[in-house]
Amino acid sequence: MIVQEQEAIDKAVEAITGDMGALWITLAAILVFFMQAGFTLVEVGFTRSKNSGNIIMKNVMDLAVGSVMFWAVGYAIMYGSDLVGGGFFRSSPSDQGYFFFSADDWYNLFFQTVFCATAATIVSGAIAGRTKFSTYLIFSAILTTLIYPISGSWYWPFDDDAWLNTAGFIDFAGSSVVHAVGGAAALVAAILVGPRIGKYVDGKAQAIPGHNMAFGALGVFILWLGWFGFNGGSQLAWGGDDTIGATSVIINTNLAAAIGAIGALFFTWARYGKADISMTLNGALAGLVGITAGCGSVSAWGALAIGLICGILVVISIEFIDKKLKIDDPVGAISVHGTCGFVGTVLIGLFALDGGLLYGGGAKLLWVQTYGSLAYIVWAALASFVVLFILKKTIGLRVSEKEEVEGLDIHEHGIEAYPEHISQDK
């Protein structure tokens, strides 16, 4: 066969494979988009009904604001060049410039946008029930415009300027870049905002049961669903080896979520004598967050190990943060996204088929994973602290006691989420 012919075929195959990849990424992005609904339901379900409307508004608005700001500014920063600070900040915008416009890269913008919205929405759960709506909006806008895009720029442009990429750091779909960043921001926010009234009585943590476990469960199913797009889509291509890659990522994702739920179930069952519903749901999410970094580099066994560790760890972390650190995180966002995001990233150092300690790769990867993930946490925590501290000193972070006790819905939004609802919340 003449070379020319083969080239023509190859070109055609490449074009089609590119289109097929774009199709997969677009559909994956649509699945990730749906995770917003999942987050909303989990947060609504795990908190009291008097604040449900406010939570809805926060989740709708971080998606809305994030969509616009990431298009306008965030993308340009994330994929920019011209580095400052040893690679930590990119000072000139990406090729697209601000206000993204590209003839052929729209699906990538879409995929990155929904990731950005995910990072933003993590915070909302941790500070539910007492935070000013206006303050949240501002913080969320800054997070999607600057904090998260800078995080992303350290690794995901996959270029030589991305210092963590150069360092050999692995975070396939963002255990650190998205989840630990969101979790660290959530931690700082929860500390600065302070616990809900009644959460700590005489220094003892009180249970404030969420009002709707069915919403919580539906939310978790939707998140689990969306995660197939989150992780699978991060293959960023489809066809040939990429098909194998993306589908093995999906299997790893599913196994980690499953074993995370199983781990949390039996751990709580043994520990409290009851199979704890919301913890089991958190366990599934913990497995998902944990495997997000490594889903492309570990075997199914590795995925099970990471999922199981995260499923149990999330229970311990939630208890520790709640009872020992006395930080009030109604939905466990800090533990699910922060703790498991960090641990999941680090565990790649053990379980990576290529370079993991357990597979004879030595400690190098473990070390890179650890400092890479810590860098993300420190960055997100610092940046969030600065922003929230300024907000605290200016417009304030918290609603008045009266508003909090009577519910944010009626005061911030003029109506209850369930106006016909007769409650027995204590």
Partner: protein, 112 residues
């Protein structure tokens, strides 16, 4: 006429209702309340084990003529009881007048 207010276990309601019907007490109103008392119920939520004395109960209001009072109370005492802490209470008080809205009748005609 007397007003009998009974606070009972929700799980006993079906039995109580049946027994009331048997003694021809066919008129009453009920709703669910939270009761605070001796009984404690264990809970776990997100790692916090706690026991609460705020337990759901059913509240019954039965207005009866004086000659029905005794058997109504007795039936309640019999059927609502399990012998465990938390079976609930019965309170009896006076009613001055009762009206049936539909017919505007008052007195004992007003109650059933």
């Amino acid at each position: 006429m007397k007003k009998v207010e009974a606070i009972i276990r929700k799980s006993k309601f079906d039995e109580v209702k049946k027994a009331l019907h048997q003694i021809e007490v066919n008129f009453f109103s009920y709703w669910d309340v939270t009761g605070v008392g001796n009984e404690k119920q264990g809970h776990v939520y997100r790692g916090i084990s706690y026991s609460t004395s705020d337990i759901q109960r059913r509240y019954l209001v039965i207005v009866v003529s004086d000659d029905f009072l005794e058997k109504t109370v007795n039936v309640l005492l019999e059927t609502a009881s399990t012998g465990n802490v938390g079976d609930g209470k019965i309170f009896v008080s006076d009613v001055i007048e009762a009206y049936r809205i539909r017919t505007k009748e008052s007195g004992s005609a007003g109650i059933n």
